[in-house]
């Protein structure tokens, strides 16, 4: 390191949420210096190494933005190099982006997959007519396809109550084993907010996770055994257990608001887990028919209906956390807590207004259009002109056209007289024998057959057959390739107008040269092709040639205009 320092462009953040000020970080001997780009900005850093206590940086190869986090006695600083956004936008700007490795790999794959694209790429980018960036600029859609594969939707919750899965009861060792997966944890925390709160409060400070869940499942077991006396007894002893056995107070507070929030027009996607009908007892092991809530024990009783309703409400609401966050209980708990906090801050608005809006939305969604009374106010009545007006009024315009046809016309009397005369002539003279002279008949026949056979062989035997298929394959491929390359050239040419920068100017010149080359190629193709298909080839090529001509004419016209403008002296001096 000759200069004795390393400099890097970074953004300086004082906290994670800070947007960051762009600037330069220099690593000099024994100090770190940060100078922001904007000299008026206050954020500066000048730290000696001895004060830095800890540093954290994002792992190489991870998808997160690269960051360097410095903790020192004074404060915690974070620095991050700016994210360079690749600018694959309009080709009118000078593209200055460096495509990431992933992008390059993807492009190479695209080229491999489509030989057509590869040929085009070789022809233009290899030939120096277009740069790599311009070529891919018009194909943003192809490149972006990869990024959209990750679905932005979250999967829904299962309809079956996962928490009701049967535990493994081992009679010999008197052990009951419950299964616990992160999904079940999520369900439990979503449906029983009191348990969630208990978890957050007690674990890991008061009880370990294992103990927590053991207690929870003990409570479940007691509930299921319908042994109320035992439940009350144990609840009296163990306060955590009591939490699990008592009805959920958070739920009670939120019930009303939750009911209002349910949108009856939700769409749910079902999958295997929703197929509770094929599970024994529909996945619910409790039979609520025999449950009768006794007055004194209301506190310690949950009916099947309550559980079902709660589960249904949670499923309808959907899950606020992603699949990825279902890693372990702690993560699930924290994620749910965060989402709950966000929700509670968001719902600080006026409840009554929200209620009204919701009611209006529900009523709109639920009205059945067919049963609504006819509401023609916003519909204009259908009015179709009387056809008689249409026919009568057009006679004036038809005079002009027909008057030209009747030049030297005779009066109608004379005309009809002619007709009558012809008819009486036939009546008196009879018909000619033969009605058609044989030579004439022969001529007509030969003309007709010639006509039919020529159209048959020239225009194709079947109407569905395409002209392209009838050409030899080499000619056809060449034609198609020319067409695609001309299309590409046209796209780039016309998008460069109006020419505002020098870069566009050079680009247009290059394109124009390529276009004249293509034109001569097309001409050569026309001349070298076999004579029997030459006519059709000419017809096929004509639109391509016209497009090229139009583009070149436009270019010449613009050049002339530019030249004449340059020749004009400013301010009209002659």
């Amino acid at each position: 390191m000759s200069s004795g320092q390393v400099t890097k462009r970074v953004k300086y953040k004082t906290s994670v949420k800070d947007a960051g000020t762009p600037g330069r970080l220099s690593l000099v001997k024994e100090r770190l210096l940060f100078r922001p780009n904007n000299p008026n900005s206050a954020s500066k850093l000048d730290m000696q190494f001895k004060y830095i206590t800890n540093h954290r940086y994002t792992k190489e190869g991870s998808n997160k933005a690269p960051m360097l986090n410095l903790t020192s006695n004074q404060a915690c600083r974070a620095l991050a190099p700016p994210v360079e956004a690749p600018n694959l936008g309009a080709s009118s700007q000078v593209p200055s982006e460096q495509p990431s490795r992933d992008d390059l790999l993807f492009r190479a794959r695209l080229l491999q997959d489509s030989s057509e694209l590869q040929k085009l790429h070789q022809q233009f980018v290899g030939g120096g007519v277009l740069t790599e960036a311009e070529f891919w600029a018009t194909r943003k859609k192809l490149l972006e396809k990869d990024s959209n594969t990750k679905s932005k939707q979250r999967g829904g919750l299962k309809s079956s109550v996962l928490g009701e899965s049967k535990p493994l009861i081992d009679g010999r060792t008197n052990r009951v084993t419950f299964n616990l997966t992160p999904e079940i944890v999520r369900e439990i925390f979503s449906e029983k907010p009191a348990v969630h709160r208990a978890y957050l409060n007690f674990v890991p400070s008061k009880v370990t996770e294992k103990d927590f869940w053991t207690k929870y499942f003990r409570a479940e077991y007691l509930q299921r055994s319908k042994n109320i006396a035992a439940a009350i007894a144990e609840a009296a002893e163990d306060e955590e257990l009591a939490i699990f056995l008592k009805p959920d107070d958070i739920l009670a507070n939120e019930t009303r608001r939750k009911i209002r929030r349910v949108d009856p027009t939700l769409d749910m996607e079902a999958d295997q887990g929703d197929d509770y009908s094929h599970l024994p007892d529909h996945g619910i092991l409790r039979d609520g028919s025999k449950e009768v809530p006794e007055p004194g024990n209301e506190l310690y009783r949950r009916t099947l209906l309550q559980d079902l309703n709660r589960h249904a409400a949670v499923v309808l609401q959907g899950t606020p956390i992603d699949e990825e966050q279902l890693k372990d209980t702690q993560t699930v708990a924290e994620a749910l807590e965060r989402s709950k906090q966000e929700r509670s801050t968001a719902s600080k608005d006026d409840d009554s207004m929200a209620d009204q809006e919701r009611l209006k939305g529900i009523s709109q969604a639920m009205t059945i259009d067919d049963l609504r009374g006819s509401n023609d106010h916003h519909l204009a009545p259908l009015w179709i002109k009387d056809p008689r007006d249409y026919f009568d009024s057009q006679q004036a315009s038809s005079f002009r056209t027909s008057m030209e046809a009747t030049k030297g016309s005779m009066s109608s009397q004379e005309a009809y007289g002619l007709l009558r005369e012809s008819i009486s002539q036939i009546k008196s003279m009879g018909l000619n024998h033969p009605i058609v002279a044989p030579e004439v008949a022969q001529k007509v026949l030969s003309v007709l057959t010639h006509n039919i056979s020529s159209t048959k062989y020239n225009l194709g035997k079947k109407p569905g057959e395409s002209l392209l298929d009838s050409l030899p394959t080499s000619v056809r491929d060449e034609l198609l390739h020319h067409h695609i390359s001309i299309e590409e050239l046209m796209k780039h040419f016309w998008s460069s107008y109006p020419i505002t920068t020098k870069y566009l100017n050079t680009k247009v010149i290059k394109l124009k040269d390529e276009m004249s080359k293509m034109d001569s190629q097309l001409q050569k193709l026309k001349e070298t092709v076999q004579p029997d298909i030459r006519h059709q080839i000419t017809l096929l090529i004509r639109p391509m040639q016209q497009a090229l001509e139009a583009a070149m004419q436009h270019y010449d016209a613009e050049q002339q205009k530019r030249a004449s403008k340059a020749r004009e002296k400013p301010n009209g001096y002659s």
Partner: protein
Amino acid sequence: SFSDDVSLLVVLIDTNPFFWSTSSSSLNFHQFVSHVLVFLDLIVRLSQLNQIVVIATGHNTCDYIYDSSLDTDQVTGEGELPALYSFVLQRLEEFVNKDEKLGAKQEGLSEKRASSLLSGSLSMALCYIQRVFRSGPLHPQPRILCLQGSPDGSEQYVSIMNAIFSAQRSMVPIDCCYVGSHNSAFLQQASYITGGVYVKPQHLEGLYQYLATVFAVDLHSRSFLQLPRPAGVDFRASCFCHKTTIDMGYVCSVCLSIFCKHHDKCSTCGSVFGKAQLDAASDRKRKASES
């Protein structure tokens, strides 16, 4: 059912005097009628079950001239001409007189459209065919042969197109043998859409040969034959305001009426149109080029 090669042929004969009085020397009305009469006889003789219906397309009216299935139209021959011919000629003369009388009433308007009432005769033919369809399962395959010479009447564009579409729907081919000077776009389109044959004979003195070669064949046998196909069809539509043929115009998005220039309101269905996009775009372009 009927054997396949029986045809019901509805022939529309153009008797527009204003066309025939100006027609070229190679085909006058006399020769035209002669050729057509022999052709009609041919059809009748091809099969006992063949039926023909002749409709005359006049200048002011159209009418049925001959229906081979009607008992009243079976006549025994006397005199030189076969029965069929004399009968048809007689009816034709009566029709011409009727047409003239109807025209005389409107003489004061001094309008002399050179076109005939093709839309009227097409409609009559289609109505007759519909009646045949509803007469029972046993009926021959109907088709329409248009022997037309008068130019297209642009004021009849919509009605002719309607008739063509209903023929297409009923699967009735409309053939055309056009004896006028310039091709008829309406009839070309009619033949194209309905699967018929359009022929404009070069040698009009051999008209009968054309008719016998191309149009005498029943529909079933057509699948084994190659019939002449026109090199191209003039597909241009006519605008609804001036009835001029256009290839670029404006279409109402509600009723699909075609106009040649921008209107504020559709004259057929009354929908109000927004400002044309083209004007807005050209304003912007003008401003950009000036700056």
